[in-house]
């Protein structure tokens, strides 16, 4: 991009290219509406995934509690859908009145996809109405399967809608290389613009993240109802619901870093300077905060499981080991959060000989961080395994051999992760990057094979007693709150990182932002804006929860089924 072209572009801006919004300014308005819209969108995409999975468990597992749980959440979706649409409309009005030149450019390229988007949103809404209002009508037999199919369709429409919107924002980030500032937007083929370098990685990352988010919001809802519960039975129901939400959130969280890594790699491949700005440049501090927040997620998720062992007969066998898991997690969090470039005063800088610490600096590079996160994932998986097994004793004749094989798989996976982590320090960068693939493969293989063995081993297992649902201290429920708040904050934070690396471009190196808000905001300002968005979203979600309780009684029915609760998801 040469300077004369930029000058031409700036000169063209004498026509009305930007509008102004009172008090908070155009950028802040678009920022807030886009972020809150996205959070609600994640809510209405994540929760149906949750609902359809739990409904399936209800149908095929024969446990009606799951069916009621699924319905309770679909009810919340009705209000959340309108909130999503309202915030979406505000965003579109904001873009078209405050950034008209940019919006005109985007609509010129993407118009047909926008029509399809609107049509699908319509179809999606009506599928939701059918899904919710038909719940009690299509309750049995084939009709129930048809109802479940509606739930699947709801997810299909929602996912396509998200993929379309992802195309617009990823085009802004990574337009195909043959598109330049002089390219007439009417000549750009729609599919060419959609299938840009970061479209599919973002699609995958967001699908998984929505599952995590849906589970976390369900967990927060359950904890709110648990703390407000008046009877033991109600408490038991919401304790169980919180567990299911947390289980789904943490299971999906385990694979989320791999999808994020793929996205990061694609950004580097597309434009090295964009990648460096994101990971090593002025956005790098966000990754230190992100590391800290993800460590909070891992620690809190595990904490919830460990407290939960208190209500499982037989869990005493495993409790002595949780402290070792905690040590690995804390050490992992320390390594993961160690910055490569440290904040130091001049005396400390002089002592270190620069802003890299001569000893701890070794923990600030990717080899150490990949090793730490992979070991944290393995540890969290082990926590789940212990929790899952807590109230059962396997009876299959090969149980001992199976456990030994599982242990060996953990040892091999941890060994592979450590080996490549250490070896990474002694090879050049290009080889080191490839090592992370081996580390990920080792961890994923371990998770898959150990789970398969565990499922086979659990066949006909002897029960050591029913789980005492509801026997949880309030602090365990605050842990679920922390998870939901942290996930929401992380979404805002990393969304800013992804969007902010475009810097002063509406469309990277194609259309420059020539407004007075072109400068990338300082991190302090950004974190305040993100916190504000999180606050707005969570306040509205609290309102939705309250409405959910106001409209009708919870789907919880106080019956003897509450006593049945010895089952786990996945058993």
């Amino acid at each position: 991009m040469t300077d004369p072209l930029l000058l031409l572009q700036a000169a063209a801006d004498t026509s009305r290219a930007y509008g102004e919004f009172p008090v908070i300014g155009a950028r802040a308005f678009v920022w807030i509406t886009a972020e809150v819209h996205l959070m609600f969108a994640a809510f209405v995409l994540g929760v149906p995934m949750f609902a359809v999975v739990t409904e399936a468990i209800g149908i095929f597992g024969g446990d009606e509690r799951y069916d009621r749980l699924s319905k309770e959440f679909t009810r919340l979706l009705l209000v959340a859908y309108s909130a999503t649409a309202i915030w979406g409309a505000m965003l579109v009005f904001g873009l078209s009145t405050l950034y008209p030149r940019f919006w005109a450019y985007l609509t010129t390229i993407f118009a047909p996809s926008m029509w399809l988007y609107a049509a699908l949103f319509f179809v999606e809404s009506f599928t939701l109405y059918l899904y919710y209002y038909g719940w009690d009508r299509w309750k049995k037999g084939r009709a129930k399967l048809g109802h479940w199919t509606l739930g699947i369709l709801l997810n299909v429409w929602g996912t396509i809608v998200m993929f379309i919107a992802n195309a617009w924002l990823t085009y802004m980030m990574s337009p195909p290389r043959d598109i330049t500032p002089t390219t007439d937007p009417t000549t750009i083929k729609l599919w060419h613009a959609i299938a840009n370098a970061t479209w599919m990685p973002i699609n995958v990352h967001r699908v998984i993240a929505n599952v995590v988010f849906g589970g976390a919001i369900v967990g927060a809802y359950a904890s709110y109802r648990f703390l407000a519960a008046r009877t033991e039975e109600e408490r038991a129901h919401y304790d169980w619901m919180g567990y299911v939400g947390n289980f789904i959130a943490m299971s999906a969280l385990i694979v989320l870093p791999f999808a994020g890594y793929w996205l990061g790699r694609e950004i580097y491949q597309y434009d090295q300077s964009m990648g460096i700005t994101m990971m090593g440049g002025f956005m790098s501090w966000l990754w230190v905060i992100q590391a800290f927040l993800i460590a909070v997620l891992f620690l809190t998720g595990n904490y919830y499981l460990w407290i939960g062992m208190g209500r499982i007969p037989g869990a005493e066998r495993f409790r002595p080991y949780t402290k070792y898991l905690l040590i690995v997690l804390v050490l992992g969090a320390i390594v993961w959060g160690t910055p490569h470039t440290m904040i130091a005063d001049s005396k400390e800088l002089a002592a270190m000989g620069g802003s890299h610490h001569p000893f701890l600096g070794a923990l600030g590079v990717m080899s150490a961080k990949n090793t730490a996160v992979n070991l944290m994932i393995l540890t969290t998986f082990l926590s789940f395994l212990l929790y899952r097994r807590a109230n059962t004793r396997p009876v299959v004749p090969w149980a001992r051999a199976g456990t030994i094989i599982q242990g060996a798989m953990f040892a091999v996976a941890a060994g592979v992760v450590l080996f490549y982590g250490i070896r990474g320090y002694f090879v050049e960068a290009i080889v080191r990057i490839g090592f992370s693939v081996y580390q990920v493969l080792a961890v994923l293989s371990c998770i898959v094979f150990v789970t398969v063995i565990d499922i086979l081993m659990a066949r006909g297992a002897q029960s050591l007693g029913a789980i005492r649902w509801g026997r949880m201290p309030p602090r365990s429920q605050y842990a679920l709150f922390i998870l939901a708040v942290t996930f929401t904050w992380l979404m805002g934070l990393m969304g800013f990182a992804r969007s902010g690396i475009r810097q002063y471009w509406h469309v990277w190196q194609v259309m420059q932002d020539t407004s007075k808000y072109a400068a990338t905001p300082a991190l302090g300002y950004a974190s305040k804006m993100i916190s504000l968005c999180v606050l707005i979203f969570l306040s509205l979600v609290a309102f939705v929860f309250w409405l959910g309780g106001l409209a009708e009684k919870s789907t919880f029915v106080a019956t003897a089924e509450g006593e049945k609760g010895a089952r786990h998801v996945g058993h």
Binding site: G310, V330, D345, G353, G361, E428
Partner: protein, 268 residues
């Protein structure tokens, strides 16, 4: 040690509250006292000490509260100090101690010092895809040191690089290429330490070329202020001299430059 003391010590060692205190103290001693005395190490910046201690504190709180019995035991001494009449003196000392600590921290925060405030700066500026060097356009993406194409001439290039380094770079980057030149103490940020595994070891030669050629004024718009005192060397050195000095840097430090990733089609 007399024998009646042993059970008392054991009681403390097994009590979750004192275990928590012990772990925190131990962690602090390791981070502040042990890490700096390890070979080749240095003091740990306060920001990192704080970060580590918060992480350990979270871990300790999880440990003491993930089990009902342990949580009850952990709270016992705290509750006792707060309410039991027999511990009036201890309570007074704790209240005075906490107040004094808060006062000290506040004083430390507002006290004026001569030191410049800590700087939250990024160390990896993003390079442009191409630059102009004395009017000639050079594409940095995929670029390797052109002098490496002539292995027979490498000794002469290295000799030239050495001359260039000692004539121009030595005052800041030092005789050992460790950023400890005799001008170094006057700069903030300090000149780059090439021996460190976090500088040229992580970079492609084209990145280093861009940094040498364009210096501090050529740093990108984002992440400012950079405050770099690095001169714009394209005004004083030729293209070949810069590539030669880059060869010299890698040869002297023993690092290998970062290489470019090849795409599926085999292009760089």
């Amino acid at each position: 040690m007399s024998s009646p003391l042993r059970p008392a010590i054991r009681r403390y060692a097994e009590h979750p509250f004192w275990q928590a205190v012990g772990i925190l103290l131990l962690a602090y001693i390791v981070v502040v006292g042990v890490v700096p005395i390890l070979p080749g190490s240095a003091i740990v910046p306060k920001s990192v000490v704080l970060q580590y201690m918060i992480t350990v504190l979270v871990g300790v709180l999880i440990y003491v509260s993930d089990n009902e019995e342990r949580w009850r035991q952990f709270k016992e001494p705290i509750q006792a100090v707060l309410v039991e009449p027999r511990l009036k003196v201890v309570r007074a000392v704790v209240v005075a101690g906490v107040t004094a600590l808060v006062g000290l921290v506040a004083y430390g925060q507002v006290k004026t010092t001569v030191a410049a405030p800590p700087n939250l700066r990024s160390i990896h500026p993003a390079p442009p895809a191409e630059i102009t060097f004395r009017g000639k356009t050079i594409t940095l993406t995929g670029l390797e040191n052109p002098l490496r194409r002539y292995p027979d001439s490498l000794p002469s290039y290295l000799a030239e690089g050495k001359r260039v380094y000692y004539q121009n770079c030595l005052p800041c980057h030092g005789d050992h290429l460790d950023g400890q030149g005799h001008f170094a103490p006057g700069f903030n940020p300090l000149p780059a330490n090439f021996q460190d595994n976090g500088t040229i070891a992580q970079l492609t030669e084209s990145f280093v070329f861009w940094r040498v050629a364009k210096g501090g004024p050529g740093l990108p718009r984002e992440g400012t202020p950079w405050n770099s005192a690095m001169p714009v060397w394209e005004d004083f050195l030729t293209e070949r001299e810069i590539w030669s000095v880059i060869l010299f840097l890698y040869e002297q430090t023993g690092w290998t430059p970062r290489t470019w990733e090849k795409s599926v089609s085999g292009e760089k």
